[in-house]
Amino acid sequence: MANGSLLDEQAPPLPREITTQPRFSDRVFRLVITAGGFTSLLVLGLIAAFLAYRGLEVFRTFGYHFITNYKWDGGNPDAGVKPSLGIGAMLIGTIVISLVALAIALPVSVGASLFLTYYVPNFLRKPLTILVDLMAAIPSVVYGLWGFFVLMPHAVYWAKLLHKYLGWIPVFDVPLPIFERSPFIAGLVLAVMIIPIITAISREVFTQVPLDRVQAAYALGATRWSMIRAVVLPFGSSGIAGGAMLGLGRAMGETVAVYLVLNLAYKANFHILFSSGGSIASMIVNKFGEASPFELKGLMAAGLVLFAITLLVNYLANLIVRRTARTGR
């Protein structure tokens, strides 16, 4: 018993090596999913490597100015004008329209998923859910055209109202009364596009709320809304945050719809109602056709920056999800 006794002292045994002999089917399955996992990593890595390789020269030429410079000038070798490439305005524009989209889509999506989970009559639940999911299947060019031809006239009217009543807030101010093709309208279109994904994720989370907590709230005389606030939202907050981040990532990468709606301008514009904005993805589409070889490398570099930001957003999403998961439940 006593460890103190010198005579008894013995070296502790080495830990045993614990092995299991997986079944053949297990090994096959593991091989398949490992291959799948590594393939996606490999593809991701190859894309990043390709973009980095093609964009290297541009990064080397401009350094961090590539990100801080607002101007995109392909230069003119014949006239001896050197190119000056920067995506600052586009970067800011991307963030602005994505945040506008998120600000609109998040409350709508959470409301929609609460409605679909707790309020909708039973016979309508399934069809409405399918309808929302179908919204994700519409091609983005259709959203872009719809945004331009159908939404724009209404959105301009809403923008004018916002400007009239909330114009004293800097973001709702405009330097000139031009409201068409603004970040606000692009954000609206993007919002419609990311609503399905945020709704689907929130709905999934809401269906997992522990029933005993729901019943505890009702048994205390809760109304449906007070139950939702006390039980459902605290439980679902991490999932909603994760869904929001996924939506944000989608909004940042969206190309064609924004390209059709937004008035691209190489200026930093924080007046969301004003007809001038930026988006890295749609700038790439915009420039791709007539780009010089050097500009093309710049576009690749821009793609790499967008790629990095999207990864960062997803990483943050994970972080938020994990933090709220610890405290929120």
Partner: protein
Amino acid sequence: MIRLFNENRYERDAVSTPPNEGEIVSSLASVANRLPRISNEVQASGADLEARGVHAWFGSRHVLADVNLSFPAGRVTALIGPSGCGKSTFLRTLNRMHEFVPSAAMAGEVLLDGVDIYKQGTDVTKIRLKIGMVFQKPNPFPSMTIGENVLSGLKLAQIKRSNKEDLMEECLTRAGLWNEVKDRLNSHGGSLSGGQQQRLCIARALAVAPEVLLMDEPCSSLDPGSTLRIEETIRQLSQSVIVVIVTHNMQQAARVSDYTGFFLTEGGPGRLIEYAPTREIFSRPKDERTEAYVTGRFG
């Protein structure tokens, strides 16, 4: 050596031989007899609850038939019976929690102070405020602190109240939890032990001042110490609140209740077989099925 062995054996037999039924019944009855009987003298609050001809269904399955029971003020009623006989279902018809099961249906009336709680136009949240419930599994709100949990009913039902601190202390004291948590009211509800969580749930139910408290096997996951404390709480509560408790523990029924109802299903829907003062149920039940159950012959 041999003698010693025999003596031991004799003692062991004395412990393990089941006493005959009569002994169990009389020992339960003696437990019941030793308790203070307050129901006869005290008619504290004016509230009373009555179930009239209550039936319950899940889908097309008839699980509860024609239950008539009344729960006058100041009385603790225990509901006993084998598993699946509809005790929980009956309890849940009493505060309209039954209707949360999508396919659930009921018939009959539940009168609170003479008014049918299923009457059209009834505000069901007000009903549940008056008829509180404690569940089998402790279910505090984990996103709230201990203190917030106690007061959560006020928030949920949007009741304004001053001196919340006093209310918090009063409810926790009545639930027998105050001394254990008074220094950590700000830690999370989930950080308590199972027994403490259950007492927190009782405190939470008390904070909205219910007239009736329904308890569905509240002690089934608790240690003997917490169980006794909750039983004490129930005895104290009975002076101001109608308590209905479902339990599988005969001793508990004998210790805490004034009246006992015995439920049983014989293939079909569950029925109330016998309802009488607890003493009588355990000492001289009228129905032989009740006797068989309380003496442990089946169920």
